[in-house]
Every structure is written in structure tokens, then in C-alpha cells.
Amino acid sequence: MLNEMGGPPRRPLELRRTVNSAAGGARRLDWILICAVMGLCVLGALLVWAATLPGDGGDPMESTEHLTRHLAHMGVALVVGLAVASIDYRTVRAYAPLVYLFTLVGLVLVLTPLGAVINGSRGWIVVAGFQYQPSELMKVGLIMVLATLLAEPRDGETRPMSRDVLFCLLVVVAPLALVALQPDLGTALVLGAIFLGMLVLSGASVFWVAGMLACGALAVAAVWVFDLLEPYQMQRLATLMDPAADPQGAGYNSAQALIAVGSGGFEGTGLFQGEQTHGRFVPEQHTDFVFTVAGEELGFLGAFAIIALIAIVLWRVLRIARACDLPYPRMVCIGVATWFGSQSFVNIGMCLGVMPVTGIPLPFVSYGGTAILANMLALGLVLGVNSRDRGFE
């Protein structure tokens, strides 16, 4: 608080910016970041469309049900995201505990009979035909709360102290446990990654950082030793080691994903032309495995474009983080970057057979209303930081 309130004297440039704030808002947005995200969104919409065509390869214009809904989700999410971007991030920050608590309640509710089970995971609340997935929003809430906690050293402190770290730990363990109970191991991993990423870059004591990493390693070891994973989860890991072991059983998803991606070749079969996609050999091909559709129909060119666009997004978000002088906005950007980075890497990695199969979507590309909303909210946070982080507005 101290820094934002007080701080060094204002300079003429800042004065001009304040004067022109209404018109200058757009100019201060990171247009490269926005273009990269829009590129991902457009590709995503096309891929979702291709993935949900009827199997006999009929006229694409006649099966636009999923596409329409996807575009609707995206429209709503864009508006919300832009709204967040245009609001002063300090104002948004004030709502961080609320967002966190709201989603935490949602995570509790999904475990009650109100929750709906989709693909073996109790992660949804269905209200009036709308499916809401609290765990996606929790990523945003967690980032905001962690950023607040890690970025606000008390008087005389220059970095998060043990007290802050312990409180952070409390804040992260609750949603992590709830998500793990659904069970949704993928999202739990992403939440853990967000926490670790933000902690490492928060300036907290190296002992804490090392301790957390050790805890993470210990947790993995414990899972292994005490056999805490469900058999199917163990099989997914075993499949990763040897994808050919059981191609019809545990390795089916992985094997089919590899076939779809590999058969696309350099140029791909062309949009709407993928035989594997038409035959629905890869499960969840419009959500978690949407990257395989890109691999088959758009080939190396299209699939690599997605990887490149995501890399650009991460580069820009991290660049904004680097440019931040204040800890809170920087921590927000770091959190978002860790989130998008870890989730994209795990998702694409599982489509390419280098990561175990977990049910998490590809940011901005996969079908899924709550996920897109959460992605756009995060983008809005980053953009809002970018346009305002000079500390004096």
C-alpha cells in the first residue's frame, strides 16, 4: 500500500497520461498479446467446429450448434475480460477475497448432490441448463489472493515472510484438496504449479522455496509409496512410459491422440477433412484433446502456430510482469503466466504423448464456457495491469 499511495514524485509524462486517460487506454493495451489471444480464439473456434461435425462429414454449415455456443461463451467472456481490463486493478484487487471465497464455496457445492459428474469427475454445477465449473474460476481467484498476500510486505519488510507464506499455503491447500476430491488431478496440478511459480518469483526466502519444492517432491513420493492414486491414474502414468503397452485400454486415449496428430503430417488433411476426427477416435476432441484436431487437420503448420501463439502470449505476459515496478501487478502477471504455461504445456504434452493424460483444457482454444471466461478474466487482469501499472493513477 505504501508504494502506491506515496512513492516518487510524478513526472510530466504521467500527467499527460492522466489527462488523456480515456483515449489513451487503448493505446496502452498490449496489442501483440491481444492479437495472439485472438489468433488462438479464432483457431479454437474453427477446431471446435471441426471436432463436433457429424461423423459422416456432412455440410459443416449445418452443424454449428457447438460452434454457436462456443462463440457465445467467447463473446460473454470477452466483454467481461474487457471490463476487467478497463477497471483499475486496485479496485479489482479489492474483490480478490470475494472471488476466492465464491469459487471455494462452488468447489464445496460440486461435492454435494448439486454437483454433476462429467467424465468421471464431479466438477460441475448445473443451473438452469448452464454448466458452471468452479475449479476454472478458482485459478483466477487463487492468483488474485496469492498476489495480494505475497505482494504486500508489512512495514520494514522487503519480501514475504514466513507468516505470509504459511497463510498462502493455507489459501492454496483448501481449493487444492477440494479439486483433488472431485477428482480432478489435472486442475490440482495446475493450482499447485501456480502457487509454486508465484512463490519462487515472490522473493520469499529460499528456504521456503526449497521447502515447498521438497514438499512437492515428498508428496509425489508419498503418492507413489502409499499407492494413493486410483488404478486408472497409475495406468495413465504407466502408459506414458510405454504408450504401446495397452492401446485398447489405458493407453487408448494417448495412442489415438498420437495417431491423429501424426497422421496429419506437415500440411494436415485440411480443415473439416480429418478422418480420425470424423471417426471420433480421440475422446474429448473438442475440449481436452482439441490440439489433436489441429494436428490432424491443420498439420504441423497449424499445430505449431498454436504452440507459437501460446509462447507469444506467455512472452508478452512475462514481459508485462518484468515491466511492473510494483509487486502486486507483477505477481498477478506471474501467476497468469504460470497458469497458462503449465496448463498449455501439460495439455499439448499429453496430445503429443510426453505428458500423462489429465483432463485440463487448452487455454483460449478448448470448448468450455467457464474455462474461457476464466481465461479472459485473467487476460483482463494482465491487460489492466499493463495499462495502469505506473503506480500513480
Binding site: G7, P8, I259, V261, G279, G299, L314, P327, R330, G349
Partner: protein, 708 residues
């Protein structure tokens, strides 16, 4: 750009900058790694995955070809294909239903009047854990739920197709035997293909449907490849649920070829009936446990009829045989009806073998113009050999020796030839004239008939004796030392021990008594009824030993092509015409005044003269087996008929009357027996000759039979 001044005491600027650059490097390398992996999958490995993708979304469906029919010489179907109504289910469609098809199967169980559990069991795919009833085929093949369904039931299912999604009722081809229990051993049968057969036969493996059947015996086995045809291959595009989306390619099946055989269904019936009745009459004085009758076309070796008793009803194979019936017909109590006594049974030939002995004697120098002593008994090499019932004829010609079947004449021949070859200790290579002549006639090796599991019989000589001795020496020598402690009777045990000792020490010696018995078709010589018919056919046709053939031609199912199978000559007898004519003349007289006279008393020999020879063969521990080997008409031979009744009495008593009945049937003479199958007096074949033409197979697959 301008930046706000940085407070160096804050953690961000100090720690963050370096950390963030590090993070950017890590991110770039991680995503570069993903890009590299993507490149590896899509560029160098693309072809590999394209192949996998192909296999993924294409499903090959084998469309079985219609199996060829087996026709008799005039085109009558002995085996054809019957269609029956079968109810089957689409495996994937039922699996895809919310309840796994339970509702549909429940509905169906009411219509079929079968418990729903039974239907559900049949829907399961067979596997190591899943025992029958289950579906042994591919899930892409319709799963058979009920066979031989009544028309109205099938109609109900077809009409209410909305109530029975995934269920179809359709016609399916099954093997059928229009003449029921005739010619079972010749026709053979088909059975589901075994693992071993699949491994052995590439053509089965490449187009295997999972429910293929293969010929396991008889013509079905020998001509399996021809009857089978070529299965079609339909390549279907399928999705991940196995639902068919389109037909990518469709290769039509090519129906199997029809077998047009030399068989005549009526002669087959006549032969079977005559054999059965003859055996019936031989009982109860004789055991008459089994028998065979072969009718062969002497001009080409074609098998016109071939009976073997006991037999069985081939209709048991229709729609698959159950294990109980299968075990039953394989059992010894049933008399092993699957076994063809004509092809697979071997017996000592007795006096029918004297054609070989006489030809051998002449070869050895015996004159057709001399006379030979036919005493009641002869003493040779210190042992006495007797004529049948001790009858003596004085001095007789070779002709008379054949007619009256005088053993003593042939004993002398056998002994003389044995002595000439050097007796027990031949000097140099023995001629073995007797054995060689027998082999010339086709004895001692398989005839080469187009039926499986044929045995070659046995022609004993010095070589055979030595081989046999080498094979059994070890056991005999051990017995010679240890005796037979397991035999209760001490004197029997002592005798057996003594015998074992002799066999051990000098078992390789071809002894005089063996050569002497061999000369009258006794001892170690074994022949099959088919071999005997082949040999008599050779005598009849002037010396050509044909390989017997059941199948005369192979015809495409649409009649477009007919491949005739040319007769195969196995051997030409070295005998000169004079000797052969002399022998023919003697055989012709056998049925007039010789040992076959009784059987042919009422046979109009002035119309059709029959030539033949009786045989009554002794075998250790068994009753006398009855033989008659013959051909007719004697002046222009067309058919050779050989009849055997195992333990059926003398040849003239049992076998010769059976042969007479067969000839009566062929030529349409009044039979002494009542007949249901064949009209009295009408010849089975007009003019007593087989059809020259082949039946015509029309383009539409129908068959134009030849009028009798």
C-alpha cells in the same frame, strides 16, 4: 521509454528481473521442445501414423463365398446348400444401446420363445474367459442368435423392425444332403477350422471370418480349395464405435466350383443296399461286422459307386454337429462309421489275389499250355499245405486252377519262386517276382484316389521282412530274455517267449511258409477293396492300372468353365496279351462253373457275362472274410466290382451274391430282393454305360441333369 524510478529496497526489482528472464528462457525452451516433438510426430513419423490411422478407421469384412456343390455324373446334387432363416444381431448396435440391448433381447426372447439369458450369452464374444454359448466370430459379422427359425417368426421380426433395432432375420446357407444317408464316407464333411489348419493354410488365414469351416474328410477335404471359392472382401469405413459410415471398397466373393463326380447316385444306392442286405443274410452264421463294395469304371478308373458299412447319416453335419453325436460316431461301438472300409480298410485278399500269383507264375516261366497238379495237400519245406476242404482235382490247367481256386497249384508256384530267389539265404538280389507282380497291379501302395487317408496295404517280401524285423527287434529280443510274466498260462507264456526268441534272432528271414501263403493271398499280405477293384479293372481293360478318381470335372458355379480331370495311368502291366486274355477267360468261367457259380445262378449271363474271382481270407483271431472281385461285361468290360465282407464267410457265399445284386441293379435285371429305391427292371444306366456328357450348369447357377 521512460520508466519510473525504482526503489532498490523493494523485492521486485532485485529478485524479479533476473528471475523473470530465467522464467522466459525456461518457457521458450519448454515450448520449443513441444514444437520439436510435434515435428518428430508429423514429419519423420507421419507415414507410420498414417498407416495406423488407416487401420483405425477401416474395417475389413470377409464375405464368404458359396461353397460348391457335389454332383453325381448326371448332375444330381449329392451335397448342396440349403438356406435357412437365421436371426442375428448387430453387435455394435446392441452394445451402443443404453441398456446394452437388453430390452431388445427380452422382446426377441418372447418371439423366439427362448430365455433371454440364453440370447445374452450368445451375444458375448468368445474368449479365453468366455465359454460357449458365445460368438466365435468377429463383432463386425452378424451374431447368430437363432438358427432354423420358422418362417412366420422370421417374418414377424422383419415386419416389426422398429421394435427390433439391430436385429435381422435372413436366409443363410447350410450344407445339405438331398439323398440323406448315402455316400457319407465319400462326401465327407466340413467342420469349423482349427488353429492348426489356420496356421498351415495361408489362403484360409488371409480371409478368415472367424466362423470358417473346412472340409475334414472325403471329397469335402480333398477338394476343399476348389469347393471353397474365394471370399469377398468389403472394406468399411467405421468410427470409434464401430458404426459403419461408408463402404470404401467391395470385392465380390467368387463362388466355389461344383464337383461333377463319376458317381451315379442310383448305383451308389444299389451298392449300399446290396452290401447291407448281403451282410444281413450272412448273419447270424457269420459276424459280418463290416463291408465294402467298389464299383469302378474300368475305362478310366472313375469311381461309379463305393459303399462302406457301417455307415452314418451325413445329415448330422447339417448346421454343425453336437459333441455328443460326434463322440458317438467316433466310438468303436458304432463300428467307426466314418471310416471308409473301401479306401482305408486293409484285409488279406485270399484267393482274389491269385490273379497276381498266376501272372507272376507265368512271368516266372510257367506255361499256359501245361497242366499242374492239384492234390488235396502238398508237403513243402517240411510242412503240409491243404486245399480248401481238402478237395483234389488231379492235373489241371492254370485256367482250371483259377476257376476252382486250387490252392495247391499256387502253393507250388510260391515255393518254387521262393527257392529260385535263393530261399532263406538269397545269393545276390532276389527277383521277388510274386511281390513285383502284385506291385505292378497296384497293391502295396496307395492307389492315388482323390480321397484322404488312403492306406497302401502291404506286399510282403524279403525287404519288407528285414525292415519289419529291424523295427520290432528290440522289443522281441527283450521279450526273448524276460519272457511274458504278465501272461497267466505258463505254457502260452513259454510259447510266446520262444516265438519272441525266434523273431529276435532270425526274424529277418523270409521263410518258405510265408512265401507259400503269400501265393494264395494269405499271411502278411493286405489289400484294400479299392486296390482290388483297381487291379481287376486293369486285368479287364487290357493291362492299364488307373489311379481311381471320384471327381470327373470341376465346374464354375455359373457354368462359365468346366475343367475335366483326365484319367491318370498309374502303371501298364508288363504282361503280354495272350496271358491277359487267358486270365480273363479263366475269370469269366468262374461265375459259370467255378466258385462264383452259385451266386450267379439266376444271373442272365447270356446278356451280360460277368468275370470274377472269389476269395475267402483267413486272418489270425478272426473269422474268414468274404471277397469277390469282378468285372463286366466280360467281353467288353465296363465296370469292375470288388466286394468285401469282413468276417462274412466264404467269397462265393456272401460277397459274390452282393456283386451279382450290384450288376443286376446296374443293368436292370430282375432282382431277387425287393427294392424301394430303384424301380425293378429299369437299368440304372441306359445300355449299362456311364454318361459320356457332363451335366450342364447354366449361367444362373441351375443345373441341367442328364436323363437316364
Amino acid at each position: 521509454m521512460h520508466r519510473p524510478p525504482v526503489d532498490p529496497t523493494l523485492p521486485g526489482p532485485r529478485l524479479g528481473r533476473l528471475g523473470l528472464i530465467l522464467v522466459q528462457v525456461v518457457v521458450i525452451s519448454l515450448f520449443a521442445a513441444l514444437g520439436a516433438r510435434l515435428w518428430y510426430l508429423q514429419v519423420p513419423m507421419a507415414d507410420y501414423y498414417r498407416e495406423l490411422a488407416e487401420a483405425n478407421h477401416q474395417q475389413e469384412l470377409v464375405v464368404p463365398a458359396t461353397r460348391g456343390q457335389i454332383l453325381d455324373s448326371s448332375g444330381r446334387a449329392m451335397v448342396n446348400n440349403r438356406t435357412e432363416l437365421v436371426v442375428s444381431a448387430d453387435y455394435h448396435e446392441l452394445q451402443g444401446m443404453d441398456d446394452g440391448g437388453e430390452a431388445v433381447l427380452t422382446e426377441l426372447s418372447e418371439v423366439l420363445d427362448e430365455p433371454v439369458e440364453e440370447l445374452q450369452q450368445r451375444m458375448r464374444l468368445c474368449g479365453p474367459e468366455v465359454e460357449r454359448p458365445c460368438w466365435p466370430g468377429s463383432p463386425y459379422q452378424p451374431v447368430t442368435l437363432a438358427e432354423d427359425v420358422e418362417g412366420p417368426v422370421a417374418l414377424q421380426i422383419m415386419e416389426r423392425s422398429d421394435d427390433f433395432p439391430g436385429i435381422t432375420a435372413q436366409a443363410q446357407a447350410l450344407r445339405e444332403y438331398p439323398y440323406e444317408d448315402h455316400a457319407g464316407q465319400i462326401l465327407g464333411y466340413i467342420q469349423p477350422v482349427t488353429e492348426e489348419e489356420l496356421e498351415e493354410r495361408d489362403e484360409l488365414r488371409s480371409r478368415f471370418t472367424g466362423i470358417d469351416q473346412v472340409g475334414r474328410d472325403g471329397l469335402e477335404a480333398t477338394y476343399d480349395n476348389e469347393l471353397r471359392g474365394t471370399s469377398g472382401l468389403r472394406t468399411l469405413g467405421v468410427n470409434n464405435h464401430g458404426e459403419v459410415m461408408d463402404v470404401i471398397s467391395d470385392e465380390e466373393p467368387v463362388a466355389g466350383r461344383h464337383l461333377i463326380t463319376h458317381l451315379d447316385m442310383n448305383i451308389q444306392k444299389v451298392a449300399e443296399r446290396a452290401l447291407e442286405q448281403g451282410m444281413e443274410q450272412a448273419r447270424p452264421e457269420n459276424i459280418a461286422d463290416s463291408g465294402a463294395a467298389v464299383v469302378m469304371d474300368v475305362k478310366n478308373g472313375g469311381i461309379v459307386g463305393m459303399a462302406s458299412l457301417p455307415t452314418y447319416d451325413p445329415t448330422i453335419w447339417e448346421g454343425g454337429v453336437d459333441q455328443e453325436t460326434f463322440d458317438e460316431i467316433l466310438s468303436e461301438e458304432a463300428g467307426e462309421p466314418l471310416l471308409s472300409r473301401a479306401v482305408q480298410g486293409t484285409y488279406p485278399p485270399g484267393s482274389t489275389f491269385k490273379i497276381a500269383s498266376m501272372l507272376a507264375a507265368v512271368e516266372d516261366g510257367a506255361s499256359l499250355r501245361s497242366t499242374y497238379a492239384c492234390p488235396g495237400s502238398v508237403s513243402l519245406a517240411g510242412q503240409s499245405y491243404e486245399n480248401f476242404e481238402g478237395s483234389a482235382q488231379g492235373s489241371v490247367s492254370l485256367r482250371q486252377a483259377i476257376i476252382d481256386s486250387c490252392n495247391t497249384v499256387f502253393y507250388n508256384f510260391g515255393y518254387q519262386m521262393w527257392q529260385k530267389d535263393g530261399g532263406l539265404h538269397p545269393d545276390g538280389e532276389p527277383d521277388e517276382t510274386m511281390a513285383e507282380t502284385a506291385r505292378d497291379l497296384g497293391f502295396g501302395s496307395p492307389t492315388g484316389i482323390d480321397l484322404p487317408y488312403e492306406t497302401g496295404g502291404r506286399i510282403p517280401d524279403r525287404d519288407w521282412k528285414r525292415t519289419f524285423w529291424e523295427e520290432t527287434r528290440e522289443e522281441n529280443c527283450e521279450r526273448a530274455e524276460k519272457g511274458y510274466p504278465d501272461v497267466d498260462d505258463p505254457s502260452a507264456a513259454a510259447y510266446m517267449k520262444q516265438l519272441a526268441h525266434e523273431h529276435c534272432v532270425e526274424g529277418f528271414e523270409w521263410r518258405a511258409n510265408e512265401a507259400i501263403n503269400f501265393a494264395i493271398g494269405q499271411g502278411d499280405v493286405l489289400v484294400s477293396p479299392l486296390q482290388l477293384a483297381t487291379a481287376y479293372a486293369a486285368v479287364a481293360n487290357g493291362g492299364t492300372v488307373y489311379e481311381p478318381r471320384v471327381v470327373r470335372a470341376l465346374a464354375e458355379a455359373d457354368g462359365s468353365e468346366v475343367e475335366e480331370i483326365e484319367p491318370t495311368v498309374k502303371n501298364e502291366l508288363p504282361t503280354d496279351d495272350e496271358t491277359l486274355n487267358y486270365l480273363q477267360d479263366a475269370l469269366t468261367e468262374v461265375t459259370k462253373s467255378g466258385t462264383g457259380q452259385g451266386a450267379f445262378d439266376d444271373f442272365p449271363q447270356d446278356e451280360i457275362s460277368v468275370a470274377g474271382k472269389t476269395g475267402s481270407a483267413d486272418a489270425e483271431g478272426r473269422d474268414v472274410s468274404s471277397w469277390f472281385a469282378s468285372y463286366a461285361p466280360a467281353d467288353d468290360p465296363q465296370y469292375a466290382v470288388a466286394v468285401l465282407v469282413s468276417q462274412g464267410g466264404t467269397g462265393g457265399e456272401t460277397a459274390a451274391p452282393i456283386a451279382a445284386e450290384i450288376y443286376k441293379g446296374i443293368y436292370g435285371f430282375e432282382s431277387s430282393e425287393d427294392s424301394e429305391d430303384v424301380e425293378q427292371g429299369d437299368p440304372v444306366l441306359p445300355g449299362g454305360t456311364p454318361h459320356e456328357d457332363l451335366p450342364t450348369i447354366r449361367e444362373d447357377g441351375s443345373i441341367e441333369t442328364l436323363e437316364p
